[in-house]
Amino acid sequence: MSESKLKPEELAETIKYKTPNRNWMDQKVEMKPGRFSHSGVPKSVEYLQLPNPRKWQPTDPDWQLPENWKEIILEGLRDRLNRFRSLRVFMDICVRCGACADKCHYFIGSGDPKNMPVMRAELLRSVYRHDFTLAGKILGKFAGARELTIDVLKEWFYYFYQCTQCRRCSVFCPYGIDTAEITLLVRELMNLVGVNIDWIVTPVANSFRTGNHLGIQPHGFKDSIDFAVDELESITGIKVEAPINKKGAEILFITPSADYFGTPHYYTLLGYLALFHEIGLDYTWSTYASEGGNFGSFISHDLMKSLNAKMYAEAKRLGVKWILGGECGHMWRIVHQYMDTLNGPADFLEEPVSPVTGTKFENTTSTKMVHICEFTADLIKNGKITLDKSRNDNWKVTFHDSCNPARALGLIEEPRYIIKNACNHFYEMPENTIKEQTFCCGSGAGLGTDENLEMRMRGGMPRANAVKYVKEKHGVNYLGCICAIDKATLPPLMEYWVGGVEVGGVHELVGNALVMKGEKERTTNLRGEPLDGKME
């Protein structure tokens, strides 16, 4: 991690945005420390029955690939071209107009020209042309074609693990070419020969076995929830119920596992518990489906399906009417755009209706899973909960749209409506950095590892920069978000680039402001910090 020891200003100075004058194909990849992650450990790879488990590292000269690795990948590519129209069309129609070039946070933060989304895609497209198009076969390099070699594979590994599948590039592309789709498919291809990273395969293996990516077993899950219940009691004086694996509950609640083990996620968990108690929700947690996040979706459609299957399976087993989902980014992309297709139809569930307001969630009639922000916004609108905004007066809040809720769902106004009703001070970041144009935290899609820290700080720079702007202008000290990866990775990012800004969920703010029947006078917020007076 050589360069990450750099001070922020020093790191910024290393970003040059200079493109070499040479043909990009002539430049071999140079794996810079701090910009890639460790490879998958054999134990996890074996457990998942994935190909080629072995001990290796990306910096090894010999990657110990199967002898016919090239055929495997090309055959895999052929197969995917036949299964994904997206891939076929995206391979053929890019005009290299460059509109996407400076839209990627990794390009902005590294200046590495191969981090321009168009170039990332060209890394695959060049191989596609070589083996699947007439022009490429005849004209070779002049048609932008090149053979798949071990150096190309190494380049793939480096750059396709420098993409967080955030889809910001796709917003600006005149044809909507979605590099995230290409990245996912290339990761699938690499996985066919055992090229992957550990912070994907191990969490996937954990999720497969225990239901959550941290590998927490059922009793650990229960301890954690019980602990949260006690903690909430000490803050509010109310002992809430938190049923687990309860058959016949009306609603199954699923949230990322970091919510009950990570900080600052935990305060959002307290917010959920308080809210559900206050409205008297008949719901249950599940230990089997104790993970909303889906690390499988970072590496293959099959593993995505395999992990996602638990949600419907558990809903069916417990006999609930519908599913409510907590604050998470990519989980919501999978739920919104994939779950029904992969593991539906959910004909054993009912069309979601809020038991408190009677509102029918018209937008979820098929998938039958409601986003917590949709649910809470509806509660507020119908006056079913009382929020004392002043309890959040310590916070000057801004909101970071997580990539997936913004660009896959269009969940934009719901969280804002909640925030505005839960606190007095809310400030938007500049227009080009929020809503559908939001910038990634820089650590999504499995890239949130320590060894990749420098790249994360680089990729997170555009987000951090926008936060810094509202901090300087309005004194913002709370970066709200609705994603577990955000909550885990934005704090170090803020510390590095900004300083003095806490990260927290939207439902933490709700939990702070929520006036509960029979509660004692609150003296602290959910973080245990005193309510009166300003934070330093």
Partner: protein
């Protein structure tokens, strides 16, 4: 080399065309055979490519959404940027195809000291692209006057609008100037913007140069080295009505122009110019944002290995029991 090759290719094409026009007896080849062949390759090629795309299914419902979803009744949803119904999708696609909506959103990022990132609006590419494409469209439509007798009303109208700067004879068409300017802009942009130079392939310069050569030869014919328009029209109508006919003295330049067009037509299906049909099939743009309202079916949705609840409970039963969690099997 990346730049030299397209230049050479264009040069060769022009030389071949001039040769064809100069050598007696080859005019049938260049005036009739090549145009028919080119149009056949163009049509069949496009059909072939589009069918090939269409044969691959759309397994997942993956629109890239750029506005508020339709959720609660009191939240205003964005009907075009986040369409939840077919009319919305049609609207969105129309905005993309007719107005290059996404390109219009373009910004330019700059890093100031601090570091401080600023994003300015950047519409030059959009403007260049719109000017080029619409000029091209108008020019293509104007050409219909050569193929049809009587000339359709809308072509005459178009001609009038386009030629409203009537300065002497022949009238000057605005689009003639615009297309050349736009093509030069698009070309120079690739040359002088180091980022674009880096990503550009020979196959990015070639179509620009090819279309530029077509435009320039056309302009030369119209304004400077006049060709016999009556003969040209005879040839065009002959082609159009499948009664090919080679009039005499059409002019060398005309053959160069025609041959370049033939090359463009034949090249089209094998190149990035396929973005024209492609944009209609892009799954991030042509699907409605109604993923949770309507189930999308994946034709190859194959089964995968799953870890069932039974297996899970078998593995953790003792601990679940000790923790007082309910069990399916005691």
């Amino acid at each position: 080399m990346i730049l030299l090759l397209p230049f050479l290719a264009i040069l060769v094409i022009i030389v071949v065309a001039l040769f064809g026009a100069a050598v007696p007896g080859l005019d049938f080849l260049f005036g009739v055979v090549f145009p028919y062949a080119a149009i056949t390759v163009f049509l069949l090629g496009i059909i072939y490519r589009v069918l090939k795309w269409a044969r691959s299914p759309v397994p997942f419902h993956i629109p890239t959404v750029t506005g508020q979803q339709k959720s609660l009744s009191w939240i205003k949803s964005s009907k075009i940027d986040s369409p939840h119904s077919s009319p919305g999708v049609v609207g969105r696609m129309a905005m993309e195809i007719l107005l290059f909506r996404s390109l219009f959103r373009n910004t330019k990022m700059e890093m100031k000291s601090g570091p401080k990132l600023v994003y300015g609006s950047s519409k030059y590419l959009w403007l260049g692209a719109i000017v080029f494409h619409y000029s091209m469209l108008v020019i293509v439509l104007r050409h219909l006057r050569l193929f049809m007798q009587p000339i359709p009303q809308f072509v005459l109208a178009l001609q009038n609008v386009d030629g409203f700067f009537q300065v002497g004879l022949p009238g000057i068409y605005v689009t003639d100037g615009l297309i050349v300017a736009a093509l030069l802009f698009l070309f120079l942009r690739r040359l002088y913007d180091s980022r674009l130079r880096y990503i550009s392939l020979a196959s990015d310069y070639f179509p620009l140069l090819l279309i530029l050569s077509i435009a320039v030869t056309g302009i030369l014919m119209r304004y400077f080295l006049r060709v016999d328009i009556v003969s040209v029209k005879e040839l065009a109508i002959g082609l159009f009505t499948f009664h090919p006919f080679i009039p005499r003295d059409v002019g060398v330049l005309f053959y160069a122009h025609l041959f370049l067009v033939c090359v463009l037509l034949a090249y089209f299906p094998f190149s990035k110019l396929m973005h024209m049909p492609g944009i209609f099939l892009s799954p991030t743009r042509n699907l409605a944002n109604n993923s949770r309202m309507k189930r999308h079916v994946n034709p190859w949705n194959h089964p995968v290995r799953v870890h069932t609840y039974e297996e899970y409970e078998d593995e953790f039963r003792d601990r679940m029991k000790a923790a007082g969690l309910p069990l399916d099997k005691e």
